[in-house]
């Protein structure tokens, strides 16, 4: 699976996709593959304010827990409720239907500081 070029990425393996002032966030294919079969997602509450680097959500597999950190500051506007009954969607479609939450961002340009697809893939091959 490739990494969509229009997304931005973090070294913690989150992806961000910005449209206007709303940023959709999920975890990357690399992250879902490391975690294994995902069994539970703890979603944030709509309306919650988050700062960059703070925990936005947690994703649990059988043997591990992954923190999903907010890549940039914002307020949660939407959560992917389908993950409550089908957490495995993240494994099947981590960059698409497996999105986790959307946040309204004060400063959409904050994503420019994140990795682009090429830089993220380079980062993966180093590690």
């Amino acid at each position: 699976m490739g990494y969509p070029v229009e997304y931005r990425y973090t070294k913690d393996h989150e992806w961000v996709s910005v449209k206007g002032n709303v940023a959709r966030i999920g975890i990357t294919d690399h992250a879902q593959s490391e975690l294994g079969d995902i069994v539970f997602v703890e979603l944030p509450s709509v309306g919650a304010a988050v700062r960059a680097g703070e925990i936005l959500a947690t994703v649990e597999s059988v043997k591990a827990v992954g923190d999903v950190n907010a890549p940039i500051d914002g307020t949660v506007t939407e959560v992917n409720e389908a993950l409550e009954s089908s957490p495995e969607t993240i494994n099947a479609s981590p960059h698409g239907d497996g999105w986790i939450a959307a946040i309204e961002v004060a400063d959409p340009s904050a994503v420019d500081g994140l990795l682009d697809a090429a830089a993220y893939e380079a980062f993966l091959s180093e590690g």
Binding site: F40, E60, S61, V62, K63, A64, V65
Partner: protein, 440 residues
């Protein structure tokens, strides 16, 4: 050395294969500044025969088992069918590790699943874990869990919890910064709920309580808003009494020792912990869950492990790792041995004998039961004169009661708490009455 397997020749060859010349070479990484301070414990090793005679002599210095035991307070002198201990003596059970490799631990995991089921049945709850250390730490963990769920920083606790449970709650509460508000009791001996503090994470009750009184749990859950109702209970009583789950309890904890475990001078014990299923993700402790293997055969494995310390570390629902697994197995085998029928029978024996004794004691001059509430197998009597002297006289006559100090901690002077189990014969009951009445 009996428990070692090497000859000196073995050791020499092994050292050579490692590439060192002496045992000391293997310990060269320990700083000399440490090893030069080492002092031995100054003991010669004893043979097995000497170990047995030393321990037998110590056991003989105990006289408690020669007395008729009327002491209760969460630990009781119940009869365990012989079958229980024989199962515990199978080394496949007692020497096995925690079942992290489920394919070779189906014995342990299946028994855990059975235990969890039986505790749910007894308590009327949805899920139970595979044990905590004891009833007191189970109660403490319930309070911590309620706090994680509601973040109020305060719990209301009945003054009628056993003193030892309350002590542990106080310690854990102090460490977590949770304020404990104590509730008084009514003349019936039940907890007085008329003045509940606001903004609590939980209300913690015990039933039967420290006075032996069965708490009326009907409607309590409705009076505490969204605080959790935590009830600490006595498992043998649940063969007869309506379980806390039927009254909407959120968490049920208790001391499982009565289910086939010796009194053991207080350890090992068996912490029971059961919860409504909606709180599963916050529940502490190990659980065994059903699944299938690659061929579709039903099997059991540790489930919901991401709650636990080996995965969540400082964000785990508890730090518990080793629990009381073999004691939980004992309880499972006990319940399977006696069955629902036997459990009912032992409950009826306990209640019947306790009520017989209470009636005969209160017929004596000056002996009264200060609490009017219904009881199961334990009750309190106010005695005429000096309870300490009376206690001493009974002890000398071979009858063991709990010291009056126990009830003094609950504000009762010159009172005795008396527990009766199926093991107390009529002769023993009648003798106690005679002694209380002044006989020698």
């Amino acid at each position: 050395m009996r428990y070692l397997s090497h000859s000196d020749a073995d050791r020499r060859e092994m050292l050579a294969s490692i590439g060192v010349s002496s045992m000391d070479d293997l310990f060269a990484d320990i700083p000399q500044a440490v090893t030069e301070q080492f002092r031995s414990i100054g003991r010669r090793g004893l043979s097995e025969q000497e170990v047995v005679s030393t321990l037998s002599e110590l056991a003989a210095r105990n006289r408690a088992d020669e007395h008729a035991c009327f002491v209760g307070g969460g630990v009781y002198d119940h009869y365990a069918p012989s079958l229980v201990d024989h199962v515990l003596l199978r080394s496949e059970f007692y020497s096995a590790y925690t079942p992290y490799q489920p394919e070779i631990s189906q014995g342990t995991l299946t028994a855990m699943f059975e235990f969890q089921t039986m505790i749910c049945e007894l308590t009327g709850m949805d899920v139970a874990n595979a044990s905590m250390y004891d009833g007191a730490t189970a109660a403490a963990e319930a309070v911590l869990m309620a706090e994680r769920l509601t973040h109020r920083g305060r719990v209301a606790v009945a003054g009628t919890l056993f003193a030892h449970v309350r002590r542990v709650l106080d310690t854990y509460g102090w460490a977590s910064g949770i304020e404990i508000v104590e509730l008084p009791h009514l003349p019936s001996g039940a907890c007085d709920l008329s003045n509940l503090p606001g903004d609590i994470s939980a209300l913690v009750l015990q039933s039967p309580n420290a006075f032996g009184v069965i708490e009326p749990l009907e409607g309590v859950k409705d009076r505490i808003g969204d605080a959790l109702l935590v009830v600490s209970t006595h498992p043998i009583s649940l063969g007869l009494l309506a379980p806390p789950g039927h009254f909407g309890a959120d968490l049920v904890v208790g001391e499982g020792q009565p289910l086939g475990l010796p009194m053991a001078f207080g350890g090992p014990l068996l912490g029971l912990f059961a919860s409504k299923k909606e709180y599963l993700r916050q529940m502490p402790g190990r659980v065994s869950g059903r699944t299938v293997d690659a061929d579709g055969t039903v099997g059991y494995t540790m489930a919901a492990q991401t709650r636990e310390q080996h995965i969540r570390r400082e964000r785990a629902t508890s730090n518990i790792c080793t629990n009381s697994a073999l004691c939980a197995l004992a309880a499972t085998v006990y319940l399977a041995s006696v069955g629902a029928g036997g459990l009912r029978q032992v409950g009826e024996l306990c209640a019947g004998k306790a009520h017989y004794l209470a009636e005969r004691i209160t017929a004596l001059d000056g002996f009264e039961m200060p609490f009017s509430g219904p009881f199961f197998n334990e009750f309190v009597v106010q005695v005429p004169g000096d309870a300490v002297a009376l206690h001493r006289r009974l002890l000398d006559a071979g009858v063991l009661l709990e010291s009056p100090d126990g009830l003094r901690m609950h504000g009762l002077e010159n009172a005795l708490r008396i527990a009766v189990t199926e093991k107390r014969s009529r002769d023993q009951l009648d003798r106690l009455v005679d002694l209380l009445g002044g006989a020698r």
